[in-house]
């Protein structure tokens, strides 16, 4: 059975069991590295992607629920040559050790910053409730998200009410 998925603005016809969790399709069928397998149980957040503006655990969501919806992964935030503001901020503040959890952190932050351009410290921590980091990079992750908010506001991109996707 073929399911049509829109990922980072591109449409893909996916030939897979409709019950397949999005994570496996992103990694296996589309060859995207950003979303990571961490637990497969919705407990660690390393597979987090954004679906229609909301942070979603891609290890838990079957692709059959995603037709017609807009999936964004960390690859959709920019490239290594032209990093987006979140990516710039994580690079600038060196907010990674092993880095395995980081794309999931960034996608949780992306959903938050789309919703609220200038979140409070509490709101940032709240948005990262599901995301686990084992290296202890937490302080830098928090700082990078604050910095990304600054970069986005400086570029006025995206404003709180702008429906920018990707």
């Amino acid at each position: 059975m073929t399911i049509s998925l829109t990922v980072n603005g591109s449409s893909h016809a996916i030939d897979a069991d409709p019950a397949t969790p999005l994570l496996y399709v992103l990694r296996d069928d589309l060859g995207l590295n950003g979303a990571k397998y961490g637990c497969g149980l919705g407990q660690c957040g390393s597979c987090t992607v954004v679906v229609d503006g909301e942070a979603v655990l891609s290890c838990m969501v079957p692709i059959m629920l995603l037709e017609g919806r807009e999936v964004t992964t960390v690859e959709g935030l920019g490239t290594i040559d032209e990093p987006g503001p979140l990516q710039q901020a994580f690079i600038e503040l060196q907010a990674a050790q092993c880095g395995y959890c980081i794309p999931g952190m960034m996608m949780s932050a992306h959903a938050l910053l789309r919703r609220k351009a200038q979140p409070s410290e509490e709101e940032i921590r709240e948005a990262l409730t599901t995301n686990l980091c084992r290296c202890g990079t937490h302080m830098r992750i928090l700082a990078a998200i604050r910095r990304a908010g600054e970069l986005m506001r400086a570029a006025s991109l995206p404003g709180p009410d702008e429906g920018r996707t990707g």
């Binding site: 969790p21 990571k36 397998y37 880095g99 395995y100 794309p103 302080m139």
Partner: protein, 746 residues
């Protein structure tokens, strides 16, 4: 003696790996390619790992096209070693870091530097590369001097070129064609003066981070080879379980399934797509019948269980005569089994090729030892096995990396031709990775009338903290095969850097002391190296005791430490952490306390002190570290931000171990199988701020950084809680229940 004074003779041209390497040899016996069977004199000691891999071109290659390749046997584990080693090489070669290609741990290409462990990569590999690079640059200058007929001092090197004052220049690539790098290194190098450093000592951004935040291929998990198949193992439900029967037919009939592999208790499934493999694994697991038996100790009585397992005692330190006095402190501390818990479960790719050779991509900490173990498991010659390091998720010691590599290798031999990618499931990583061992620590210390430590008796009960390969028996797949390999029997060894006894001997000036390691050879739970080994729990116990003794002496705990500390570098970190924290500031608000912890890692590596402000919610027992202020001296600094990043991480990870973490088990099975049954630190509980202050030690040897914070941070948490609630906690972790019962809210 300088290499420049040696007569250089052309030896010949040999083919390098894909490049023409023109080699020379010094006219010295020990520098020849083929040393005499019986050397007349023992070889001189060379700096760092150069002592093991003595030729300069094992470390640095310069090609005619002016490209520079640097080789290290150490692996990037997320600790930033790739960046720091590039800085060291670039500094001494007088080039930019981006001019260098750095090749890390690969049995086909790099030196054998054993394991990337023990915070030793900068000491071993950093020192080797620094000295090799300095000697290569000296050779380049010498060669240029000869060609220009000027003195080497008249020349300068920059941008991969040697320049003469008159404007003549030759690139490194042009020079190297007439130069030898295939020579033994010299014991002495002319290193850059600390004042002349351009690249070292500065925070070069980590070279691996951009790919990691943009979805680049960064981990072995991301390796996708042509024709690659996915595999999953079905691991036994408990450590002693035996597979009695399995019906593979249902799994074999599932879509995409290529093969079900069984070899004794080793069970795996191979399929075309990853999620097909996961489904087939579940089906296969459901049909497997295991014979289980009780093999685990009683978790409710671990101190007694550990003492029962004691078979041997080693003396770690002994001085003076023990005594007992009026001012005596006696206590028993406990550390549970704890996991590495990398966020990404272990992963590997292996391919059995038509020529009978096997390639294995792994996030192992030791490509060479892993190769030896895999070759032994498969009864293959070592040279037929090629192990290539690729990054994994986290590391923190001996986790499931080598096991996943062995799984992939074993499956690859049964399904030859196509690459096989194995990834462990979360519950497999939690249940089967080797844990940091449980430890029991007993202290009996007393003060003299002047308030100084008069006597110190310390006993630690622990397994070994290293069961790395070393032999196929270290690999789960090899143990589960129908012709199983047995783990090597562990041995009690008392060494300067320590193991279960790491940091068991306090660095403080104590005239009368006795420190013993009660060694437990049997390992009912699989254990091995977890970041800092025994230092985490030993420093926790020692530094908790130091605080109690300070209280008895009615002396401020920082003052008390300084009274007993002679080492000036130790004093410097203690004083700096206290000062930056504002230790002598106003009293803490209600339900807040301050705690201090110090250690010199292994008593011979980095110095670290940390002060913390800790908040305790009496009603719930919840503890949160509000802020942590640390000071570290890890010798000469290569990348200050790298040191800060590692130290912040160490502090936070230690806070997590200390407040939340213990492996749970019944008599048969591990019951900590995921993040809900083994909780760790979450964002809601991270501190408001963590500071790392670095003491600069230009020109001093590298001391390593990665593990220095684990013990002191645990002690600072413990001492902070003691200060906040007036009660001491002795058993790790400091769960809400334990804290509540300590404050009388049981």
């Amino acid at each position: 003696m300088s290499i420049l004074q040696e007569e250089v003779t052309r030896r010949g041209v040999i083919a390098g790996t894909g490049a023409l390497v023109v080699s020379f040899s010094l006219a010295r016996a020990f520098a020849q390619d083929l040393p005499p069977a019986t050397p007349l004199t023992p070889p001189v000691t060379l700096p760092g790992s150069l002592d093991d891999e003595r030729f300069l071109d094992s470390w640095i290659r310069i090609d005619a096209d002016n490209s520079i390749t640097v080789f290290t046997g150490k692996a990037e584990l997320g600790q930033g070693i790739r960046t720091a080693l590039l800085q060291v090489a670039a500094e001494e070669l007088d080039v930019k870091p981006e001019d260098i290609v750095l090749v890390t741990a690969d049995t086909g290409r790099t030196p054998n530097e054993g394991f990337t462990a023990g915070s030793q990569s900068m000491q071993n590999s950093g020192t080797a590369i620094r000295n090799a690079a300095a000697q290569v640059r000296a050779l380049l200058l010498s060669e240029a001097a000869k060609r220009f007929a000027v003195a080497p001092a008249e020349l300068k090197s920059e941008n991969r070129t040697v320049l003469a004052k008159d404007g003549r220049s030759l690139t490194y690539g042009e020079l190297v064609s007439e130069l030898m790098l295939h020579v033994e290194a010299q014991p002495q190098s002319t290193l850059k003066d600390p004042g002349a450093l351009r690249v070292m000592g500065k925070s070069l951004p980590r070279v691996d981070i951009p790919a990691k935040v943009t979805g680049g291929q960064a981990y072995v998990h991301d390796l996708r080879l042509d024709g690659m198949l996915h595999a999953r193992v079905v691991l036994p439900p408990s450590p002693a379980a035996e597979l009695s029967e399995v019906d593979a037919s249902a799994a074999e009939a599932m879509p995409g399934v290529v093969s079900v592999v069984r070899d004794g208790n080793f069970l795996a499934v191979v399929a075309e797509k990853e999620f097909q493999t996961v489904n087939a694994m579940r089906t296969l697991a459901a049909t497997a019948r295991w014979q289980e038996r009780e093999s685990l100790p009683d978790q409710t009585d671990l101190p007694a269980e550990l003492q029962r397992l004691e078979r041997e005692v080693g003396t770690v330190a002994e001085a003076g005569v023990l005594s007992s006095g009026d001012n005596q402190f006696e206590a028993t501390f406990m550390r549970p089994y704890q996991i590495h818990g990398s966020i990404g479960p272990s992963c590997a790719v292996a391919q059995m090729k038509a020529d009978g050779s096997l390639d294995v991509w792994s996030h192992t900490q030791g490509v060479y030892p892993d190769r030896a173990a895999i070759a032994e498991m498969l009864a293959m010659p070592e040279e037929k096995v090629h192990v290539i390091h690729m990054e994994g998720s986290g590391c923190y010691g001996h986790n499931g990396a080598d096991d996943a590599a062995a799984d992939a290798a074993l499956i690859a031999t049964k399904v030859p031709g196509r690459p096989i990618r194995v990834q462990w499931m979360r519950e497999q990583e939690h249940s089967w990775e080797p844990y940091g061992p449980a430890m029991l620590m007993k202290v009996n210390a007393s003060l003299d009338r002047a308030g100084r430590i008069a006597s110190w008796a310390y006993d630690v009960w622990s397994n070994t903290h290293s069961t790395r390969p070393g032999g196929a028996g270290a690999l789960l797949a090899a143990r589960h095969k129908s012709q199983p390999f047995q783990p090597k029997p562990p041995e009690l060894n008392i060494t300067p850097s320590g193991n279960g006894d790491r940091n068991a001997n306090p660095l403080y000036a104590i005239a009368n002391k006795r420190v013993l390691w009660h060694f437990l050879p049997d390992m009912p739970l699989r254990v091995s190296a977890l970041r800092a080994l025994g230092a985490y729990a030993n420093v926790f116990a020692i530094e908790s005791t130091i605080d109690e003794l300070a209280l008895m002496a009615a002396v401020d705990p920082v003052e008390f430490r300084l009274h007993h500390m002679e080492d000036p570098r130790a004093r410097a970190v203690i004083e700096l952490a206290a000062e930056r924290f504002g230790w002598n500031g106003p009293q803490m608000p209600k339900n807040r306390g301050r705690g201090f912890g110090f250690a010199r890692y292994k008593n011979l590596a980095a110095y670290l002190a940390v002060a913390m402000e800790v908040e305790v919610e009496r009603e719930t027992g919840r503890v949160r570290v509000v802020r942590a202020v640390s000071a570290i001296d890890s010798g000469e600094i290569v990348n200050p931000d790298g040191i800060r990043n590692q130290t912040e991480g160490g502090i936070l990870q230690s806070i997590s171990w200390t407040l939340y973490e213990a492996v749970a088990f019944d008599r048969t099975r591990i019951t900590s199988t995921d993040w809900s049954s083994y909780p760790i630190l979450r964002f809601a509980s991270v501190p408001d701020s963590v500071e790392v202050h670095i003491i600069e030690r230009p020109g001093e040897p590298f001391l390593g950084t990665g593990e220095a914070a684990q013990g002191p941070a645990a002690a600072a948490v413990a001492n902070g809680i003691r200060n906040a609630i007036g009660k001491r906690l002795y058993d790790l972790p400091f769960t809400r229940d334990r804290v509540r019962s300590a404050v009388g809210h049981a």
